[in-house]
Symmetry: C2
DNA sequence: CGTTATTCATTGCAAATGCAATGATGTCAA
DNA sequence: TTGACATCATTGCATTTGCAATGAATAACG
């Protein structure tokens, strides 16, 4: 169980490795929130993100969401299909460019968001309270990480 | 594309939502590193984590890794199977408790880590350089998030 | 001891995922 | 216009994933 790395090698501790730490923290946070809406509202993380983006911005194409919400387009597409089947969003062909699909919240979708948003905001508030003074530092660090080119080819992003 | 939320509802911007930001930042960081070792060494993120933990601690059971490395036990088990097939680790029944499987790096595994570790450490160094003064703040925030009970039932974790 | 719970690793299987087509539409320049 | 190329959303398909058995081994406790 103890350290036994080759003394010629630099020591390596996964617990101090930022990508790993980020990954675990992100998983915990997302899962913590997801457990609040999954059972109650029956939606997945991807669905939540699509809804949240629709609530924020009006009619949007799948492509827009893919870019803004950091989800594979196929994931967005399938989430949209499920949300449409559940009656929370509507899909319509964009008359100006018929390749595009306009996604929009239905009345039911808005009602759903009216229930979920307070939960999400409460979760965020809890998180901030829990972090206290460390919150600002975390956000600044995240901002720097996210600022980098959105491009997935940037290894330092 | 513009804001059009119900004025009775609080505004909601996914871009300012910490779980989402964490998730995107984590994905970028993990993917950024993964692209460095995936093509060159043919290992996945799960495999990398198992290897990294084995490099740090000696013989370990699947259960230990599951707990320490934040991976589902089935994921660990399958990663271990692939790593064994590739010749990087060895599996052996623990003589003291024959339910346990001792995982350990083989000579090849150590050689692999000798190649990967500098890459990983370089990535970490790049990250820290990129973050500059913000790095400490990020780490403190992550620490607070990770400190909370490891328990998945804690919504604020 | 013997019997019942627990713990561990693996695996079966349904669902989710990612990537590469596919088809339908748009753009642009010859 | 026409034809080559680009963009968009969806879907096919192989792989991966997560969860719930499963089977093997141990612990707990009468």
């Amino acid at each position: 169980m103890e350290d036994q790395h080759d003394p010629a090698q630099p020591p390596f501790d996964l617990d101090r490795f930022t990508p790993y730490r980020l990954s675990v923290a992100a998983e915990r946070a997302s899962e913590g929130l997801a457990r609040l809406y999954r059972s109650r509202f029956g939606i997945s993380v991807a669905e939540w993100r699509v809804l949240a983006h629709l609530e924020h911005s009006g009619n949007v194409s799948v492509r827009d969401i893919e870019a803004r919400v950091a989800l594979e387009k196929s994931k967005v597409s399938r989430a949209a299909t499920r949300l449409e089947a559940a009656g929370y969003i509507a899909k319509a062909v964009d008359p100006a460019d018929r390749r595009l699909v306009q996604l929009s919240l239905t009345e039911e979708g808005r009602a759903l968001m009216a229930e979920i948003l307070p939960v999400a905001l409460g979760f965020q508030a809890e998180l901030e309270a829990r972090l206290g003074a460390a919150f600002d530092g975390l956000e600044q660090g995240l901002q720097k990480l996210l600022d980098g080119t959105e491009d997935k080819d940037d290894p330092s992003a």
